[in-house]
């Protein structure tokens, strides 16, 4: 569809120039949108919220299972906790990242509850991210956690 009349409108040279700048503007817009989208995807890929939620629930479930198991138990958690801090508080397991330092700074708070046994003692502790593995022990009526 040719809107231009050489006699009345733009000449050929101006037409070419016009189309050229039009394409440049559209390419600029495409690059801008592409960069924004890739930045968004990258940000989503780096999120650790799911991992923190998963760890808190998995560890709480394991503590419940250890309470339910008969006799003495020593269990080494197979998951990788290298980048996280596991904080055992009364009835709750908090998981946050090293840079968050204290759970008050962590948002959203990732924690899950475990059921303490009334006739057993749980030794609350903070397991740092330096070590790669978490060990949970039940000896007699004492349940404790440590780095390995």
């Amino acid at each position: 569809m040719n809107f231009f009349n050489e006699k009345r409108g733009l000449g050929k040279k101006a037409q070419v120039e016009h189309e050229f700048y039009y394409i440049i503007a559209q390419m600029f817009l495409i690059v801008l949108i592409a960069v924004a989208l890739f930045t968004f995807i990258d940000d989503v890929a780096d999120q650790t919220l799911f991992e923190k939620n998963y760890l808190s629930k998995d560890i709480a479930l394991i503590v419940n299972s250890i309470y339910a198991s008969p006799g003495d138990v020593s269990y080494t958690y197979p998951g990788d906790i290298k980048n996280f801090i596991i904080d055992f508080k009364p009835g709750q397991v908090y998981v946050y990242e090293e840079f968050e330092q204290y759970e008050e700074l962590a948002y959203p708070k990732c924690f899950y509850s475990f059921l303490e046994g009334s006739n057993m003692v749980f030794e609350y502790a903070v397991v740092s991210a330096d070590q790669s593995q978490l060990k949970i022990n039940k000896l007699g009526n004492i349940v404790g956690v440590e780095n390995e």
Binding site: R8, L37, F40, L49, F50, K57, L61, Y67, S118
Partner: protein, 156 residues
């Protein structure tokens, strides 16, 4: 068309393209957010662990003469809500009801929670119910009688 008209035409022509582009970008963003999971549901596993904990420790028969606990044998003296509540700390997301069918006896773990969220079972955003059945022996004094233990766990 003169130059001014051409520029105006191009700008007006660009507006639907910008709107379409915005719609496509927003669709991509919302689709990605919609499919990214940030949570995992462990209510079923948690319920089964609780049931095992109650049956194999709280209400299990313990022979003090040989210091041995018999999982699967229910001690009638221990089969009550107070005993179960005294051995396991109260949870904020779990409740259980235990029925000895033959004896027509019922005991609860976290009774208030169970009764509050039982009507919401199966509703989206409500609670979930896990039902299990165990064939047990009920120890009453010196005798052991077979019975069925039905357990219903409500989790939220």
């Amino acid at each position: 068309m003169n130059k001014k008209g051409l520029i105006t035409f191009n700008i007006i022509n660009f507006i639907p393209k910008i709107i379409f582009l915005a719609v496509v970008v927003l669709t991509i963003v919302f689709m990605v957010r919609g499919f990214v999971r940030t949570d995992v549901d462990i209510s079923a596993s948690e319920s089964y662990v609780l049931v095992n904990r109650i049956i194999y420790s709280s209400i299990a028969y313990h022979d003090e003469s040989i210091n041995r606990t018999y999982p699967g044998i229910v001690d009638l003296i221990k089969f009550n809500s107070e005993r179960i509540g005294s051995t396991i700390a109260a949870a904020d997301n779990l409740g259980a009801k235990l029925d000895l069918v033959g004896r027509r006896m019922t005991a609860y773990y976290n009774k208030d929670f169970y009764e509050q969220y039982y009507p919401q079972r199966g509703i989206k955003g409500g609670s979930k119910e896990i039902k299990t059945k165990f064939y047990v022996l009920v120890r009453d004094g010196e005798t052991s009688v077979p019975d069925t233990l039905e357990v219903s766990v409500i989790s939220r």
